[in-house]
Symmetry: C2
Subunit: 389 residues, 2 copies
Amino acid sequence: MDQVRFGIIGIGNMGTSHAKQLLRDIRGARLTAVCDSNPERLRWAKENLPESVRTFSDANAFFVSRAMDAVLIATPHYDHPTLAVQAFESDYHVLIEKPAGVYTKAVRDMNLAAAKSGRKFGIMYNQRTNPLYAKLRDLVLSGELGEIRRTNWIITNWYRSQSYYDSGGWRATWAGEGGGVLLNQDPHQLDLWQWTTGMMPARVRAFCHFGKYRNIEVEDDVTAYVEYENGATGLFVTTIGEAPGTNRFELSGDNGKIVAEDGKLTFWRLRVPEPKFNAEYTGGFGQPECWKCDIPVGEGEGPQHRGILQNFTDAVLRDEPLLAPGEEGILGLTLSNAMHLSAWTSDWVGLPLNEDLFYAKLQEKIKSSTYRKSTGPAGGKLLDVSGTH
Amino acid sequence: MDQVRFGIIGIGNMGTSHAKQLLRDIRGARLTAVCDSNPERLRWAKENLPESVRTFSDANAFFVSRAMDAVLIATPHYDHPTLAVQAFESDYHVLIEKPAGVYTKAVRDMNLAAAKSGRKFGIMYNQRTNPLYAKLRDLVLSGELGEIRRTNWIITNWYRSQSYYDSGGWRATWAGEGGGVLLNQDPHQLDLWQWTTGMMPARVRAFCHFGKYRNIEVEDDVTAYVEYENGATGLFVTTIGEAPGTNRFELSGDNGKIVAEDGKLTFWRLRVPEPKFNAEYTGGFGQPECWKCDIPVGEGEGPQHRGILQNFTDAVLRDEPLLAPGEEGILGLTLSNAMHLSAWTSDWVGLPLNEDLFYAKLQEKIKSSTYRKSTGPAGGKLLDVSGTH
């Protein structure tokens, strides 16, 4: 094979953006099919995509067509796992949009289907291509920071107005998205939080506020406290309601602290590790000598979506290692599910997660939802997502 | 009266430092008496203070002496309220070191005694003289930030080594200090957290780790989450175990956000308040125009202890308003007590605090303490506290 034929299912905001990149920017990739149940989007595809791109309104017809080698799934979140399972069972390679799904039970099934199929499986964690986070991961996993003691991510720069929520009926509902800021805006940070540190928490206590800043039924403000196996603690603070918000990730460890903020990585590096200093010091108020180090980081935010599309294409063509294996999507979603469950039960949630309990509680939320969207001035129209992640 | 005669009770670390300042730097103040039950400290006083300064080994003799107009209390924390009550009942003005005490029940009695006496009552909240926090309070209380939405103080730069804890038998024990980092290092930040915002939380959920980084029985690592009446949330993160640590206080409000860090105050000011923007905006991903403003702040850390001593002296002499009225000491201590109680009960703690429950739990900790100090290399010696607060 010298070219990967891509079929995209779901050509809304993100799917459309991916279609354009596949037509233009990805070596070894070709867009050969799209599928969408919305007639308006299909009409757009027929009018704007090359004639060679086949269009499908029905998922089953799409999957039996063999019009592609790989399926890119860019539908609403709930459908990611079910469509991925269908794609694997139809023997396609699969690249899914984030989040992996809405509840981990379904994502586990997807991961099993992927393993059984032997096909390539990727997830659109495009922030893993950001040199800032790649370098942070490098510093941590190579041991420069030493044992981690605290993680503290303030990620409150996801500002969204009421008009944003009014723009799509499925947005920010339990039935449509299965959550709010955690499901739609934070999947990248939830992934990077564990990807850069190599650590998943042992337990989670989260405080979610639902419809605090916007007329929505899901969470729009979250503070999550976690504890890790090694005794470290962590915080994850997020909202769509603050402007301008903050994106500051601080990691503290035996050898000092690292802060990722404003595209810069700063390492306050101790000359000797803190435990060694503490064991040897005999004075009163002294502390370890510390060097403020500006860590070199590649320019810009990296290749982002294009990078993931290229890497996935290269994985299919030449067996290159995936930067974002699809099976890892369950990790960030587990964090998100655990935060919801902790807030709903007002209690600690230990990991591994009680996936059945989460699923049952989510169904309760969907069933008891009385929320009906009022269509605002931007009602139903497609948003321009260029510049978002 | 054209001069205030000061008597200091407790001439350990802080009392000695105050004695030197009263002898040297405070207009209208004179040091006329000191009291300490430790013969070594009394000998130091006789050898190093002017002959005119009377020395007492017994508190009762000190209080009946009329050798002073104002009593400065710089003993271990537990004794602050009881000695203050005795001082007020003996008709002295009173300035106490922070914290106001160890449990609010006793501090409430102290405040009643102060009110009954009609004497001046101050507390050594010297960080209130820091131009950074004075300006922050000014911005918030004058309404520049608008309604507060989140407070987030990372105050982890209180590094203390094991040798520090080994230097005094009363340090970091339930019986001696009644707590760890919250009682000894954080009283200023706990005060400033509410002083700069004008808000006390409605409820507190805190996660304390006891003896995590040091061989001590009290808390050395704390993450506290709070909720305010107006719906705002807050975080207070503190430890003595991290180097170099962080001191970053972020406030988010309707009109933007303010960060106090590295002696600088930065105000990301929205051109129109966020609620107005949100009500009028009809697009997808827009957000309010934001101006990054460097707020002018006076040089340095302000007059600190000298400032409080001078202000208290001026209050006694000329009825000048107190910058840090003693009655306000109960606020920061309430936060600290609530954090302990939340950790001990693994539950929310609502304010007003259940003071009897806190007191009972503290007594349990003291009674069940099996901790015996090992005297390290710095055992029992006086630490040089110049440069600490």
